[in-house]
Amino acid sequence: MSAADLGDEALAGLFARPGRMSLTVLGTVIGLAALVATLGLSRTAGNRIVGRFDELAATEIVVSRSNTSTPEESVLPWDSPERLERLNGVVAAGSMSTVDVVGRQVSTSPISDPTRQTEFNLTIQAASPGLFEAVRAQLRSGRYFDPGNSDRADRVAILGPSAALKLGISRLEQLPALRIGDDIYLVVGILDGVARQPGLLGAVIIPEGTAQRDFGLRSPELVVVETRIGATQLISQQIPLALRPDSVRGLRVAAPSEPKRARDLVQKDLNVLFLMLSGVSLLVGAIGIANVTLVSVIERTGEIGLRRALGAARRHIAFQFLLESATMGLFGGILGASLGVLVVVGVSAYQSWTPVLDPLVPLVAPLIGAITGLVSGTYPALRAARMEPVEALRAG
C-alpha cells in the first residue's frame, strides 16, 4: 500500500461523516486557539505593562547612605540636587528625608474634640523643592514650595492625597493650617499623585530648611534623580564623584534593574497560568478525538474486516486510523491557530495595542494539534489493528 493510497483512504474515512468530524475537531480548535491567543495576548499585554514600567524605571536613580560606611563617610550634602542637576543627562533631582518628630502628632484643630480623632500620627517628609519634579508629582491644588521657603525655613506644608483625606483638608481657599506638635504650618498644596516614592502619598511634606531648624534634620536621607532614557548607567557612575569625591564608596546608588529580566519574569508568571488553561482545553480536545476515533473503529468493524480480507496487514489498519486522528488534530491546529491569531489581533485592535506574537507559535500549533491527534488515536488504532478479520467480518 502506497503512502498516497493511505492518505486517500484516511481522508475518505474522515470526510465520511463531516458533521461528526467538525464537532470532534472543535475541541482541538478551542484548545489551540486558547493556546495561541493566550500566548499572544500575554506577550502583548506583558509588553504593554513592561513598556510603561520600563520608561519609569529606566530613568530613575535613588542615592542613599551606604549601610557599610561610617555616618561621616555617607552623609549626603544639602546641595546634592543642585550638584546632580549640573550633570549632563539628569532631568531632575530632589532630596527627601523622613523627619523624626519624636512622637509629635499632626492635627488641624486647635482644640481636642473628644468625640472624634483630631490628632494623627502621620509621616513627616522633608523635601527639597526639586523633589516634586523628580518623583513626577501631580498637584491637585495649590503650589509647591520654592527654594525661598526652604531658605527662610517657612512653616509651610504640602499634603499627600491620603494625608489630606485623613486631615479633612480638601480646599486651600481658606488657607488651612495644621499643627505638628505645637507648631503651626500653612498648607500650600495638595498632591494628586506621584509616579515614584509612593510613601509621599500619605505624608506631610515640609521644606528641608524648616525640618533642619524645627526638627534638627542633619542631612538628606536620599536623593531621587530622573535621567534621560539610557543615561542611568553613566550617571550612576558619576554620582558618587559629584556628591562625595572624598568618599566615593560611602553612597549607595540604586540604578534600575535590567528591564528585560523584569519583562521575562512578568511573562513567565502570565504564561504558566495561561499554558495550564490551554493544556486543559487541549486535553479535553484529545479525549474528544480518542473517543470519536474509538466509536468510529467500533462502527467500522465490518469495513476493517473487509480491508483485512482485501489484503490489508494490521499495520495498514493502524496507520489509517492514526492518520485519520492525526489529520483531525492537524485541522484543529490550523483552525485553532488562525482563530488564536485573530483573537490576538482583534483584542489588540480594540485596545489600541501593538499585537506581539512569536511567529513560531501559530506555526507550531498545527504540529501540536497533529501530535495530539496522533496520541489520541493510538489506542483506537491499535484496537482496530488487533481485530481478527473473521470476527470483524462477522460483526460487520
Binding site: 500500500m1 493510497d5 473487509l306 480480507a309 482485501l310 489484503g311 499495520r315 460487520g396
Partner: protein
C-alpha cells in the same frame, strides 16, 4: 489442468477454545486445481465458514499443511499472509461488505489498494471490472442506491479487480432472490469459463449444483459428494 493444485490442504484441523476444546475442522484434505469451480455444502455449524476462512488466510489452522499457489502458508507472518491474500484471493461475501461512504467505482478500486499495483491504471481496471459484471452505468452511484443483486455484482467486480487466482465466495446468493441468484450464478459461470478458480460455500443444493464439483462438510469432516 496443472499438475500442482492451486489450493492444497492436508490433514487440516482447527480447534477453538480449551475448556472444552471444540474442533471445527478435523483432518480435512482438499485439493482445488486451477480453473475448477468447487462448492462446499453442509448444515449450519458444520465448519463451512471456518474452512473458507482457512482457505482465505483469514484464519490459521491448528494442524495440517496448506499450500496456496505453491506457497506453504504456515511459514508466513501476518504481513506476508496479507500480501499473499491480496495477490491470490478475491472474496465475495453474503453481506456484500461495500463501504457505504464510497462510490461503486471507489469500492471496486479498493480491491487494488492493498496490492502493489500502479495507481494510475486503477480506475481504468475498476471500470472494466464493472463493465464485466454489467454495472458500468452505476460507477458513480453510492452503494445504498443499488439493488441487492447490483450490490453483489459490485462486490464481485471488486473481487476480480486484481485478477486473483481464486475467488472465495461465502454464501454469495444468501441475500438474493431467485432471479438475481440465477444472474449472479451465470456471472460466476462466465468468470469460471474465463479460467477463474471458484470455491463457494452454500447451503442451497441448487446453487451448489451449478459447480463442477461438490464437497460436503459435516461436523468438521469433509467428504467428496457423489
Amino acid at each position: 489442468m496443472n499438475l500442482r493444485p492451486i489450493i492444497e490442504i492436508r490433514d487440516v484441523g482447527r480447534r477453538f477454545g480449551v475448556e472444552p476444546p471444540f474442533d471445527a475442522l478435523v483432518g480435512v484434505n482438499l485439493a482445488v486445481h486451477a480453473g475448477e469451480w468447487v462448492s462446499i455444502t453442509g448444515p449450519s455449524g458444520s465448519g463451512k465458514s471456518t474452512l473458507l476462512n482457512v482457505l482465505g488466510l483469514l484464519d490459521v489452522p491448528t494442524s495440517g499443511t496448506y499450500h496456496l499457489a505453491g506457497t506453504d502458508v504456515r511459514a508466513l507472518n501476518d504481513g506476508q499472509r496479507a500480501g499473499l491474500r491480496s495477490r491470490e484471493i478475491g472474496f465475495v461475501f453474503q453481506a456484500f461488505h461495500l463501504v457505504a461512504y464510497r462510490t461503486v467505482l471507489e469500492n471496486v478500486m479498493l480491491g487494488d489498494v492493498y496490492r502493489k499495483g500502479p495507481r494510475r491504471q486503477r480506475a481504468g481496471h475498476a471500470r472494466s471490472a464493472l463493465e464485466r459484471v454489467g454495472l458500468g452505468h452505476r460507477a458513480a452511484y453510492m452503494p445504498t442506491r443499488l439493488s441487492g443483486g447490483e450490490r453483489q455484482r459490485a462486490a464481485i467486480a471488486r473481487a476480480i479487480m486484481g485478477s486473483p487466482s481464486v475467488l472465495l465466495c461465502d454464501e454469495p446468493t444468501g441475500n438474493l432472490d431467485s432471479v438475481t441468484t440465477a444472474a449472479v450464478l451465470d456471472l460466476f459461470a462466465e468468470l469460471n469459463k474465463g479460467g477463474l478458480t471458484i470455491v463457494m460455500i452454500t447451503h442451497e443444493a441448487d446453487v451448489a449444483a451449478r459447480a463442477d464439483r461438490q464437497v460436503r462438510i459435516v461436523d468438521g469432516r469433509l467428504t467428496e459428494a457423489a
